[in-house]
């Protein structure tokens, strides 16, 4: 029989508080260096991060978006019938724009870029490269962390928009070929039903998810000790912590916006 020790619960609670405080402090310490974007090396890190997180992830976003769109359209059509265009599109908007768009994009980026950033910074920590930067008079928060947080956040916001567009239009397009669903009718209905509230909520979610993914990844990489074995552990921790915090924020934003 499993017994829950009070000490374990207490430790987990304080570990969580310590972790949340740590990422909060890291975010603030990086954010105050936003004006360092005037320095060419900092801009280079930002552009590289946008390229890696945004441009290189496009293939995955396109494929997953169209497939998810097809699956959702199929299930909705089974539920409400092929003739019920307005209801079909309304459910599509609710599911994709309000929830799946920001969530799925965040999960893809978390798995791809979150782990890479945690591993990269952890590796730099172990090999003393972060210390080298400090010796050169370069603040790691300004050069390494701030451009990564900004780059990932911008990329997540843009990719979320692309994902939603591809999911809806791609799904409708494939479904129109396979099941003779009227594509233009559904698309016009979608454009008439989508509201500023849905777009704003989607944007806010993707903003928060981008900040969470990048900050946690940078935090886990930065606190790696002196052994190489801690690097994959940092990447794994970043994924789990990201998942929890993204789902919590998703729930909070959804309840605030739609209840």
């Amino acid at each position: 029989m499993l017994t829950l020790k009070p000490q374990a619960v207490g430790k987990a609670f304080f570990d969580a508080i310590f972790f949340l405080h740590g990422i909060y402090k890291l975010f603030l310490s990086a954010a105050k260096f936003i004006f360092y974007l005037r320095k060419p090396p900092v801009r280079t890190v930002l552009f590289k991060q946008i390229y890696f997180t945004g441009i290189e992830a496009l293939n995955s976003i396109v494929i997953i978006g169209v497939l998810i769109g097809l699956v959702i359209i199929t299930q909705i059509s089974n539920l409400v019938g092929l003739a019920n265009v307005e209801r079909t599109v309304k459910i599509l908007v609710w599911i994709v724009v309000r929830e799946l768009g920001p969530l799925f994009t965040a999960v893809i980026i978390m798995a791809r870029s979150g782990t890479a950033i945690a591993a990269e910074l952890g590796s730099m920590k172990v090999s003393q490269e972060i210390k080298s930067l400090e010796i050169l008079g370069i603040n790691p928060a300004a050069y390494l962390i701030m451009p990564r947080i900004l780059g990932v956040t911008l990329a997540v916001m843009i990719l979320t928009f692309y994902f939603e567009l591809l999911t809806i239009l791609g799904g409708l397009g494939v479904a129109s070929i396979l099941w003779d669903i009227p594509f233009w009718e559904h698309t016009k209905t979608f454009l008439s039903l989508i509201s500023p509230l849905e777009i704003t909520v989607s944007l806010i979610k993707s903003l928060f998810f981008g900040i969470i993914i990048s900050t946690i990844a940078c935090y886990q990489g930065y606190i790696v000790g002196q052994t190489i074995t801690q690097i994959p552990q940092a990447a794994a921790k970043a994924v789990i912590q990201n998942l929890f915090l993204i789902l919590i924020f998703d729930g909070i934003i959804t309840m605030i916006a739609f209840l």
């Binding site: 090396p41 210390k131 080298s132 050169l136 008079g137 370069i138 603040n139």
Partner: protein, 220 residues
């Protein structure tokens, strides 16, 4: 006084240690262990705080400075680490240019000229005249220890620092390579009036060729 340790101690690792380096001095610090050598380097750059005593860099008490002020002071120091300390995801050319691009508002052409002068000074330009673009466009991972130190040396010299610190730079390389580095560092020391150059080492024989009376021996 460029650098001053005033009764600096770290429990179990560094006994009470006092020394100073005025401007213009070329000196050596010989420690009993690698750990205390790295600790002294961290203390004098403000990367660690002593448990007792004070560290002054450019007459400023490092304990009184904010983290941003410490970064500003470190810009006036050039440090060559024993492993080079290069950034592995930056090409050699990018490693060399990083301090100038980050700390100065020089144009790319001015930076290019400055780096060429330094590469000529360190002998790297001549050694790679045939494959210049290809060599300096590589990542630094596969380079030899001597090459990494040469690049780190050129990078440290780029900002014309007031203090140069060399961490075990003669060890682990051939005697010819060590002589070459010694010649470059001594010449560079003489190029700026008041520049202080400090050679850190665990092995006294490694820094024996450096002719100076300013020798600090740190006990275990």
């Amino acid at each position: 006084m460029m650098l001053r340790f005033q009764e600096v101690a770290v429990f179990e690792h560094l006994p009470k240690t006092s020394f100073s380096f005025p401007g213009g001095v070329l000196g050596k610090i010989i420690t009993a262990s690698d750990y205390s050598k790295n600790l002294i380097l961290d203390l004098l750059l403000g990367l660690e705080k002593p448990e007792h005593g004070k560290v002054y860099l450019f007459n400023k008490d490092l304990a009184e400075l904010s983290s941003q002020e410490l970064y500003e002071l470190r810009r006036r120091c050039g440090v060559v680490l024993s492993g080079g300390g290069l950034i592995s995801n930056l090409k050699i050319r990018e490693n060399l240019a990083l301090p100038l691009l980050y700390h100065t508002a020089l144009h790319p052409e001015e930076i290019e000229n400055k780096l060429m002068n330094l590469l000529n000074l360190t002998g790297m330009a001549a050694a790679h005249s045939q494959d210049f673009d290809e060599y300096f466009g590589r990542l630094p991972g596969p380079l030899s220890l001597f090459e990494k130190r040469q690049i780190a040396l050129a990078r440290a010299m780029a900002t014309d620092p007031d203090i140069m610190i060399y961490d075990s730079i003669f060890e682990g390389i051939s005697s010819d390579a060590a002589k070459k580095i010694l010649e470059i560092t001594v010449n560079f020391h003489q190029q700026k009036e008041g520049r202080c150059s400090i050679y850190l080492s665990v092995h006294e024989d490694a820094v024996e060729p450096i002719k100076t009376d300013w020798i600090i021996r740190v006990a275990a």
